[in-house]
């Protein structure tokens, strides 16, 4: 290699590294935005007359959005070949877990005052909470194994385990459908997004997506 091409390739490499870095930092900032805003509004005493419900809603919705973002990464690489996005799956997934954990903590602590009898009634007697809780339980092993070590240790099983995310997103959507009172825009919107993201994983559609990618890259 000539010095010049060497230099060029090292620039390109650096470029790729910076891109990855920028993407990572952006993903962290995007994920933390809702939490930062929530804390800001809390500090300004700006959570309305029922702060408990406000915190429930403002941890639940980001959790769902982040799960969807995490699911969106693979279809986006499929369509545009943006392989650099891959690490974002884990970042979004882990933040989704953080918000769900805060959501659950709000429920059992702020709302139900850590009263075990009330909490049990609240989870078992309300179907929408029960499915939400199931989603949380299934998210636990995914969060615990979201690291390189577990990935190596589990090998093939890791991939199978992480397919649980499909069940989790379904439970989360059912959770949302069941909790809204007759006005279904938002659950509809999120369900539509998830449908598209799942369809893109289906072989016949996937082939078309790959063809699109080849066309897109050759432009």
């Amino acid at each position: 290699m000539t010095p010049i091409t060497q230099r060029l390739s090292s620039i390109r490499k650096l470029d790729r590294k910076t891109t990855a870095q920028i993407l990572r930092v952006s993903a962290h900032m995007l994920s933390l935005y809702a939490l930062a805003l929530l804390l800001f509004d809390y500090s300004r005493n700006n959570l309305g007359a029922d702060p408990v419900r406000e915190i429930l809603l403002r941890t639940g919705e980001p959790a769902l959005v982040l799960l969807i973002l995490s699911l969106a990464v693979t279809p986006l690489t499929l369509l545009f070949g943006w392989k650099q996005l891959h690490p974002l799956r884990r970042i979004f997934g882990l933040y989704a877990f953080l918000y769900v954990a805060l959501h659950l903590l709000t429920f059992i602590w702020l709302d139900y005052g850590l009263n075990l009898a009330y909490i049990l009634d609240g989870i078992l007697e309300q179907n929408f909470v029960l499915v939400g809780f199931a989603a949380f339980v299934l998210l636990l092993p995914l969060a615990i194994t979201s690291n390189k070590w577990s990935q190596r240790k589990l090998g093939k099983k890791w991939k199978t385990l992480h397919k649980l995310v499909y069940i989790i997103i379904m439970l989360a959507l059912i959770h949302f459908w069941w909790l809204v009172k007759n006005v279904y825009y938002m659950p509809f919107l999120y369900s539509a997004m998830v449908t598209v993201l799942l369809l893109l994983r289906w072989q016949p559609v996937k082939q078309k997506a790959l063809r699109f990618q080849r066309w897109y890259r050759s432009r």
């Binding site: 005493n45 029922d50 005052g113 909790l179 007759n182």
Partner: protein, 329 residues
């Protein structure tokens, strides 16, 4: 607003908790439940930010002071004027809790008429001025929403029975049917197709004649604000909040069980009676506990919202009427 008479549910004055006691009790409850987040209490109790205070519709400015007691008859503190006027379910405006306060600001409540008719001897269309001629009393009631939150509200109004006695229901009249104004120009929520507007609610004649049942025209000694159902709304404290229909323009005595808006739009979820009952769950929400706005943690829900003594006799068995359709219908 002129309150000619103050009556409430009769309670010995010894049971009314003095203000300093309920304040410390509130703080204690929160502190005990969650010592490290005690700061949240301020967010709960104090209500709005300074901006909100400036933009909130102002009546005479002394909202929150013109009340005869600081607690309900069970010793629980009143919710603040801010909480009551900024946390509303009023789908005629929108489906959020803080939206109605904003969107209803310019809702025209005058002139206003309420048509009272149907199976009565003396049908009459009342101008709001006529309705304000009934002695306006203060009634401190718990309001329990089917979504499992609650408030304590110092209403001002008069017993519905007084109005009904004036129009004299005939012997055939079995139910009272109420209707909210249909005014899509001023009620953005009514422009949507999601619900069969206008809002309709109903009571049996016995329920309507019960002394606890009032038509409210104010709260905290102030004229009612639009988001709370101005200029005149029903308050039936032993039933879930959605029974207490707002902005009433029509009251009709009928011989059939009226189909309410909620019965029509979600028949598997809402029935006619909708009495507060901790042992009968709504399909979505457990009714065993409730979150009192302004408090952390939950309190157990009381049968008939704590008014069993006054109203249990109206029903053959406490479980007979629920928020679900009466069984077998």
């Amino acid at each position: 607003m002129l309150i000619k008479k103050r009556t409430g549910i009769e309670i010995p004055s010894s049971e009314i908790t003095p203000q300093h006691l309920y304040l410390s009790r509130r703080q204690f409850m929160a502190g005990a439940a969650m010592a490290t987040t005690a700061g949240l209490l301020a967010a709960c109790g104090a209500g709005g930010s300074p901006e909100e205070a400036n933009t909130a519709p102002v009546n005479s400015g002394n909202g929150g002071t013109a009340v005869s007691a600081t607690t309900d008859e069970l010793g629980d503190p009143l919710n603040t004027y801010d909480e009551i006027t900024n946390y509303n379910n009023y789908y005629e405006f929108n489906t959020t809790k803080d939206g109605p306060a904003r969107l209803a600001k310019d809702f025209p409540t005058a002139p206003w008429q309420v048509e009272v008719g149907g199976m009565v001897k003396n049908p009459k269309t009342y101008a709001m001025e006529d309705l304000l001629k009934f002695d306006q009393e203060e009634r401190i009631y718990r309001l329990r929403c089917v979504e499992a939150w609650s408030m304590v509200i110092p209403w001002v109004g008069f017993p519905l029975a007084k109005l009904l006695n004036e129009v004299e229901p005939t012997a055939d009249a079995k139910y009272v049917r109420f209707e909210t104004i249909y005014d899509p120009d001023n009620m953005p929520g009514q422009r949507g197709r999601m619900f069969p507007w206008p809002y309709v609610e109903g009571l049996t004649v016995e329920e309507a004649m019960q002394d606890l049942t009032i038509l409210s025209t104010g709260l905290y000694g102030e004229t009612l604000l639009p988001q709370n159902g101005a200029p005149i709304r029903l308050v039936v404290p032993w039933k879930y909040g959605f029974k207490s229909i707002k902005a009433i323009v029509k009251i009709e005595l009928v011989d059939y069980m009226p189909t309410s808006l909620w019965m029509e739009s979600a028949p598997t979820e809402y029935g006619f009676y909708a009495n507060v009952n901790p042992e009968v769950n709504h399909p979505r929400w457990s009714q065993a506990t409730e979150r009192r706005i302004g408090e952390l943690g939950r309190r157990p829900t009381l049968l008939f919202n704590g008014y069993a003594e006054q109203v249990a006799h109206l029903y053959p068995d406490p479980k007979y009427d629920t928020n679900l359709k009466p069984r077998g219908s």
